[in-house]
Symmetry: D2
Subunit: 374 residues, 4 copies
């Protein structure tokens, strides 16, 4: 009977009752008045909740895959086979490029760009197949609001955002669908570009009502311009510093192992309720990363001293160019990304910074482990 339904907008809309019954993880406990009173809608995610349990039986699952990649296509084929065989009741949503490649599955519901805003309403679970970039893309798909739990498969080595390998697809799926599973709520930033008058800037890549939702970091960078970027950084309205640098970035704890790490920043546990402000190649001897509490709001404003505009990027995608007097406002998003974690006790992060980043890796020669061993 679902045969022929190909577009998300053609599905019956969820009723209020069904939405109310959804045992969806609440990503943050928002007091309604707080939510209303916050222009940015970005402050309510409580760090105490960075870990939670999820026990819902999803009905609608969105599959997100790395495009134009043979291994991803094959992995998604296996996934589709498994789901349609063992869980035929599930509604499966896919992006157009996935539907095109897997056209023998007639019941896939295609979500095209026009329907993207509907995703939070329909989706109970997201499954990603690809790399970190595929998870970032998922965050982008849910840029306008709440994101359902995300289960991420790697096709190669595991990673911070990739706790599961595609080879254990069947067990992992069954474990997740049966529940309960551990969820790590990864903080996102809500980020809004404004003009000299404080009005939201209409950039080429449109910003949503609640700003862009950012998983790793917001970056201002000189990009193709030869001149240094000069940025005035404010915290809760106070002038923190004038950064003269190739760039300046504000990172989430999750992003501390991405661009922020390259810029020399510290490594943060994803459960920390804080932002990391780090310059890229600053023209200063005395700049250090600044750790700011997640309850605050940061403004990064292009200084009138800046001789070129700066490129604004969120999670590595350039979204617009800011000129002197223009700024970006950044705070904690009320919409974290709830990531399904491995079951075994303990934080995957502790293991990952050792195995993936080779954090504090030992010297190969034991005699080098002292300053001057005999």
């Amino acid at each position: 009977f679902r045969r022929g339904v190909h577009q998300l907008r053609d599905l019956p809309a969820p009723t209020i009752e069904s939405l109310a019954k959804r045992a969806r993880l609440r990503p943050c406990d928002v007091l309604e008045n707080e939510a209303e009173s916050s222009a940015m809608g970005a402050r309510q995610y409580s760090p105490a909740q960075h870990l939670s349990k999820w026990n819902a039986r999803p009905k609608t699952v969105l599959l997100v895959q790395k495009p134009d990649d043979d291994r991803a296509n094959q992995a998604v084929a296996r996934l589709l086979r498994h789901l349609t065989e063992h869980h035929p009741y599930l509604t499966l949503l896919v992006e157009p490029h996935t539907a095109r490649y897997h056209d023998t599955y007639p019941d896939l519901v295609v979500v095209d760009a026009a329907d993207q805003a509907l995703l939070p309403l329909y989706t109970d679970l997201v499954i990603t197949v690809g790399g970190d970039g595929t998870v970032l893309h998922t965050s982008h798909l849910f840029a306008e609001g709440e994101c359902p739990p995300v289960l991420s498969f790697s096709m190669g080595s595991l990673g911070f955002l990739l706790p599961f390998h595609i080879d254990s697809m069947a067990e992992t799926l069954e474990m997740t669908l049966a529940g309960p599973v551990s969820i790590l709520n990864r903080m996102r930033l809500a980020c809004t570009p404004i003009d000299q008058n404080g009005q939201v800037l209409q950039c080429a890549k449109a910003v949503g009502d609640v700003g862009w939702q950012v998983m790793n970091e917001v970056t201002l960078h000189r990009g193709r311009h030869a001149h240094l970027t000069v940025v005035d950084a404010y915290f809760d309205g106070q002038h923190l510093t004038e950064a003269m640098a190739d760039g300046l970035l504000l990172s989430t704890p999750t992003g501390s192992t991405a661009y922020s790490l390259s810029a020399g920043g510290p490594i943060s546990h994803p459960g920390t309720d804080a932002f990391l402000l780090t310059p890229i190649a600053p023209r200063s001897l005395s700049f250090r990363t600044v750790i700011l509490p997640g309850s605050g709001v940061v403004k990064l404003e292009i200084s009138p001293l800046s001789r070129s505009p700066a490129e604004l990027s969120v999670d590595g995608r350039e979204v617009c160019e800011l000129r002197a007097g223009e700024a970006v406002i950044v705070g904690k998003s009320r919409y974290p990304i709830p990531c399904v974690e491995r079951a075994a006790g303990g934080s995957g992060w502790v293991r990952d910074i050792n195995s993936l980043l080779q954090f504090n890796v030992g010297f190969r020669n034991k005699s080098l482990r002292s300053h001057h061993e005999a």
Copy 2:
């Protein structure tokens, strides 16, 4: 009628009713069962409360001063004159060295070492006159439990822990006693040394029931030993890393501008709910500061590979020497230090990292502000 009362223990004990009426700032909203269930008693301070208002009329005030310092003695003399003249109803507690120097004030109540444990019961407000070290000493006086609000005067330049100058003593006192004043709850660490069997170590400098309360940092250092310290660091029971270094320190956000900064760590806003783990001269190319959420517990254990014991210091005071297999357990204390802040809007910290630390200070020559300016 108070004449002749010289020892704290001779004062009438506060009644349950009077304690209940005390409009004392609650440093943390502890659910009683949580408090009971936590072996360390160290997890309940909520970062959302790092700022609060205090509106109580204190009846008992403890004066803490830098010892053997002429300027401090004179400043305390002025303070005593002001308080006895304008607020004769106040009970004034002092340490023995202060009582000896100011022996013309017959009504001072002397708190000797034997009575130190009673201080939290009696004291409504602490006034310090001296430097950062005097505030750290105050933290040490309240090492066994809750600390009342602390009002700190500098005799020279202001500092992170010294928001007020002694020259504005009268206004500042009146403002504080009248209330309400802004309070910054500075997180402390609770820190307990244990032996190979997990039993509390009985060091020379006795550790209290809830461990040592630490404002800046816990440090393990090779000290006078020539060999590197080897420390296994654990987070929430997981092995994080093996540090081979001159030392390793775990800092509060407040401590991020003390020893941690010297070791290369980032600068943290005092309202961040996090610990900073930073090595001192590590034998590694790939060690960075690690930011850990304040809800976790850190164990630093001397490795069997370590060829010498390590000195354990809290806030710069060496407290004992740990040998292989011995460890220190560190978590967030339930007893922060509530510091009276300057009234004007905004965080003193933003101003202080600029004015005191010369954070990101500009080059004097404008032409140096670009890489290659014409």
Copy 3:
């Protein structure tokens, strides 16, 4: 009789005898066969000679000024008046834009682009008026060979490359023309881009026979490309490392206070005979600046793993884009820049890193000068 001579090429060529008599500073003692045998012509500058004395009476002086700058124009006007009044025997060379602005001086000899290659043959002394960029431009004017002594005036604050202020123009000029003056030979890099076959790349901005002569640094950077640059770095033919970063730069000691400093590199005395290899925002926890002896040759090759070309810049000017397999060869130039230094004993550099860079500047609050002062 010089009236009417406006182009450098119209001046009588110096005779062999006059050239032989020139008491020109020899920037490096090159054994002729060494010079011949070096494909790069880049290895003969001896660091032992980084300081020397210059005692020649110059006959031909090149004036180089910051273009389109009122203060520079006025300063050059004063300079021209002084020189034509007190030293009428001097032949004064200028760039076309200077000649246009100062058209009341009929005897100025204009050096247009076509004649630039003749400059080393004719010029005894260069006087610059402007900023660091003006000195870098001078280095560029003498990109094809030996550079005569350079006397540099600042119109504002002094700098590493700007030891003299225009307000002391008359005394400084008289001191220099009378001699002897101290000369600091600043090492330059000789830098040649090559293709996959080792042939010199013909970039838009033509490279000379001896490569580009570089005063500060050679930089490979991703620039406007979003992907990281991947560069294989070789030292004397051995593979040193694969750098995955926003960029990679090789700096002279002089350049250690320019872009290299921003990238986190150490500060080098200009007399050190070494190169500094430093990454910009490397994707690694374990990259550090590498110091290489000035006698070696560095090759930076775009890796086949690199997903975008890299921009090659010398002293901040982008000169071409290198693709996978293309490389740049860098060694010490045989043509340093001999800079006239202030007369007083001691190195201006020691003073400059303190006064200009605010190197190791003290904290404003004395109590911050210890970790935990009382």
Copy 4:
């Protein structure tokens, strides 16, 4: 006939003729008058000579081994067997602890402490068996003057100072004795402690006429004292900076991978003619390693602001304690350590920083090699 000769002082002294005939590597080409004119005798080692060839047939060989170590004892036993069998003409010098252990070799010549000063006169080649510390000990044995070539064997993994493994002992020995072999002249520092009047300090561990000869670094450190060390650093008589820190160290290029690396310093090729000045845990945001040319002289003086004495260590051995006003003078020693290098082309150092230090080691997860790879 040598039977019975056990002490170095009992050997016939070398004649002037035999010394003249020694094809010993000259560690530096000293102009005699320069040597005389240098109070420190420390400036003549030419970096151009950091690589040379050695072709002499040694007659007297000193064996230096790690003491109290079974593997070292066994390795030395094999070495003695090989040398006495295949090269019976060699005179073998050993330290007392080696002679005691290998007492079945009656012809070993024992060098006791009293004869140490004679070593440069007699020794043609040193063979070390042990770790980096054994090489540093050899440097110490030749602290008073010229050091002959040093051939170093590791019993485990190779290292910067340990190019040969004991398993290839026979081939390596034959290759070295036959010659020619490549020699890397490793710069040493000459280091002299002085009192407030500039007189040489008579410390417990006596300093020789030419100061201590230091292979890795000279360190001033607070050691067991709680207060920071305050050191005024001078370069060629100019005040460079006031360092307020746990310590301050001046390193050779060889030492750049020892303590200096832990303190955050860059990695230097051993052929660089430079010193590296690096603080340990400085109380400053704006301190960086400073690279100074090897032709200069550094003075590190305990500041009158220092509240405790500082421990002076050379190559990790504490030699004395300096009080306010006392200082240490450091320059390049005229006596480098000539180290026998592996034969194959290219620098062992390039290989070693990669294989031993894991310099710029890649992340294990390829997706981490970009900031945000899809």
